[in-house]
Amino acid sequence: MSHTIMKRVAAGVLTAGAVAGMTLAVPGAAFAASSAADAAGSTSTVPPSSPRCTPSLFSQAQQAVQAALTARVTQLDALQSAAGDTANHLTAGDRQTLQTDITTTEIPGIQALQPQVQQATTCPQLRAAARAMVIDYRVYMVMTPQTHLTVVADDETFIEGQFTAFEPTIAQAITAAQHAGKNVTAAQAAFTDLKNQVATAQSATTGQDTTVLAQTPQGVPGNWQVFLAARTDLTNARNDLHTAYADARQIRSDLQ
């Protein structure tokens, strides 16, 4: 996956150059008449820049950048809704961090580029705005996974809290059943597993929100690995919590 994303980033220098004018790796390639791959005679599958920013194609390039900005505003609105959705269990602090980032940095920043693109009359002007749109804000490669992974991390923390809150009373119920002469072997085993699963999930979840929220647009592409690692840990925690839930059902069934 890391190779994939790195390829995407590298390829994007060319492909997004059509729209965004990313010229860091291949100066001059963006909006040029031919891509670097073409120039090198490469058989790369990287699609050519389209539309390229030439005087004759300026209008098309401008429209493409405008569409990309509009799409980012739409995406940021969706992220803002996700961050403000009280159905999830974002902590107050994490919710505030995300909302602040989205509403005071990302959305105003992208919206400020829209009139710049509308008023641009040259390819360098268009390229500068497009470059800022991608590199300064990283709506898709940072803000989006950052928001959704933080929601997942905090959701898991909340569910872990639910389980740990049950644990003392489950223990009492098992003890009471045992004193009443019931065979609680299976229930006890399930309870032991439940506690282990929850503890493992907690271990995988702890600190993930902080780590994910610490990522910035300037950290691309390296922070992609951070997101992937968080995804792995959070997926493992999710599986642990589902197993804990199965254990809880087992306990309830055994004690009835």
Binding site: Y140, D155, A177, Y245, L255
Partner: protein, 107 residues
């Protein structure tokens, strides 16, 4: 004259006993309710509860032991609530997976 006095004494004593019994009976019904200390949760270890009928009199009441999981801990509703949370979590994780599996155009 002696007979009349004796009759009056017997009637007075009988009336007193009647009043006393009535008082006990009337009071006992409310005391039974107010003094009951039956465990609220079904998980408590079986323990005799005392019901005060009247001052100085206690009637032991034994609550049958139960092994049911406490309703406020692992009830079907509680488990359903956790299941709902897990379902929501799965949806959010799926969204995050989609972000990472199909990153859009920042590259």
């Amino acid at each position: 004259m002696h007979n009349a006095k004796r009759k009056l004494t017997v009637v007075a004593m009988a009336a007193g006993v009647t009043v006393t019994l009535a008082a006990c009976g009337a009071g006992s019904s409310s005391h039974v309710v107010e003094g009951t200390t039956v465990p609220v949760t079904a998980t408590s270890a079986p323990a005799p509860a005392s019901t005060t009928v009247s001052p100085g009199t206690t009637i032991p009441v034994t609550v049958a032991p139960t092994t049911a999981v406490p309703s406020d801990t692992l009830s079907a509703n509680t488990l359903n609530q956790v299941a709902t949370e897990l379902g929501s979590l799965d949806g959010n994780l799926s969204t995050a997976n989609n972000d990472l599996n199909n990153p859009q155009g920042d590259s």
